[in-house]
C-alpha cells in the first residue's frame, strides 16, 4: 500500500529499447509472429525482475510501445545505478531521460551519455 502511494510521485522516466529483432514491430506484425511476442514477454519479465531488486518503487509500463518498455522511477540513485549497469544486464536504455518537474507538472527532458566515469546530461 505504501508503495502504491509512492507510485504517484514517480519522478524519472526512461525507455528500455526492445531487443534488436523486436524493434519497431507493429501490433499487426506481432499477431503473426508469436516467436517475437514470446521473446518480448521474456524480455519484459527480465526487466521487471531487475527492477524488483531495487528497494524503492519502480513502475514498468505493460502497455505496448514500439520503441521499448517505459519505466518510471522514484529515486534518482536507483535509476542512476540501473543506467550504469545496463551493459552488464544486457539492456539498452534509450539515452533520453524525463524528469518530472513538480512545479510545472511537466517532464524536463535531457539527453544523456554513460561512460565508466558516470552519466553526463545535456
Amino acid at each position: 500500500m505504501q508503495n502504491q502511494n509512492k507510485i504517484g510521485l514517480l519522478k524519472y522516466h526512461v525507455v528500455v529499447e526492445w531487443l534488436p529483432t523486436c524493434r519497431n514491430r507493429s501490433p499487426r506484425t506481432l499477431q503473426h509472429r508469436p516467436d517475437l511476442v514470446h521473446k518480448m514477454n521474456e524480455y519484459v519479465k527480465k526487466i521487471i525482475s531487475i527492477c524488483e531488486s531495487y528497494k524503492n518503487p519502480i513502475q514498468v509500463d505493460q502497455s505496448y510501445n514500439m520503441l521499448g518498455i517505459r519505466t518510471w522511477w522514484l529515486e534518482g540513485s536507483d535509476l542512476y545505478h540501473f543506467l550504469m549497469t545496463q551493459e552488464q544486464n544486457k539492456l539498452n536504455v534509450i539515452p533520453e531521460i524525463g524528469v518530472l518537474n513538480q512545479l510545472t507538472g511537466k517532464l524536463v527532458m535531457f539527453k544523456f551519455s554513460v561512460d565508466k566515469n558516470g552519466i553526463t546530461l545535456y
Binding site: 534518482g76 540513485s77 535509476l79 524528469v99 518537474n101 513538480q102 512545479l103 535531457f110 546530461l121
Partner: protein
C-alpha cells in the same frame, strides 16, 4: 488556489527582515545565499558555487530552483527543481543564467501567482533591475507589488504612476497585512 501573499527576499543585503514580517507570507522565496535561505520554501540560484553550498545546507522543506543547465548536475537528488520557462518573459530577452537571482525569485513568484507579492531587501538599479521590475509590474497588472524596506527612507519616484506598486516600511507592511488578512 493561489497563495494570498508571496514574500521575495532580494539581494540588496542592507535590510534586516523581521521574522514577524516573514510570518505573514504563505510562500517565501529567497534569492541565493541570503540569510533566510534556511527557512525558505524556494531558493532561486543561478550560481554554481552557491548551488553546491545550498544543496548541502538545504532543509527538507526547502526546494532549490535552478536553471536547466545547473539543475542537470543535481538531477538525481531530492529538493531541487528546474526553473520553469517563463513564457510571458520570452519577449524581454529573459535569460535565467545571466539575470540576477532576485529577478529569478520575483519571476518565480509572479509565475506561481498571488494577489500580493511583497519584496524585501530588494536592490533596484537603473541599468537592469529597475527596468526588469517595471516589466513585471506591466506584465502582471492584477498583482499588487509591495516594495518593503526596513525603514522607508526617500520615496521611490520611479514607479510613481504605477497603480499596482506600493513602497512601504516593515511597520506599514504589518498594518497592511493585518487589514489584508481581515478582508479575506
Amino acid at each position: 488556489m493561489p497563495s494570498h501573499l508571496i514574500a521575495v527576499i532580494g539581494e540588496l543585503g542592507a535590510d534586516a527582515v523581521d521574522s514577524a514580517v516573514l510570518q505573514c507570507s504563505n510562500t517565501l522565496i529567497v534569492s541565493g545565499m541570503q540569510k533566510q535561505h534556511t527557512i525558505a520554501d524556494y531558493v532561486c540560484t543561478n550560481s554554481t558555487e552557491q548551488l553546491d553550498i545550498l544543496m548541502k545546507q538545504r532543509c527538507d522543506k526547502t526546494t532549490i530552483v535552478a536553471p536547466r543547465n545547473l539543475y542537470a548536475k543535481y538531477v538525481w537528488e531530492k529538493g531541487i527543481e528546474c526553473l520553469p520557462t517563463f513564457e510571458d518573459l520570452r519577449e524581454y530577452q529573459w535569460n535565467p543564467n545571466t539575470c540576477s537571482q532576485q529577478l529569478m525569485s520575483l519571476a518565480l513568484a509572479c509565475w506561481i501567482g498571488s494577489p500580493v507579492i511583497a519584496v524585501f531587501d530588494y536592490l533596484l538599479d537603473p541599468a537592469q533591475e529597475t527596468p526588469a521590475f517595471r516589466a513585471l509590474l506591466t506584465l502582471y497588472p492584477g498583482t499588487r507589488f509591495l516594495y518593503v524596506r526596513a525603514a522607508k527612507g526617500n520615496k521611490i519616484k520611479l514607479f510613481e504612476k504605477v497603480k499596482n506598486f506600493s513602497h512601504m516600511d516593515q511597520k506599514e507592511f504589518l498594518n497592511f497585512y493585518k487589514k489584508y488578512a481581515e478582508s479575506k
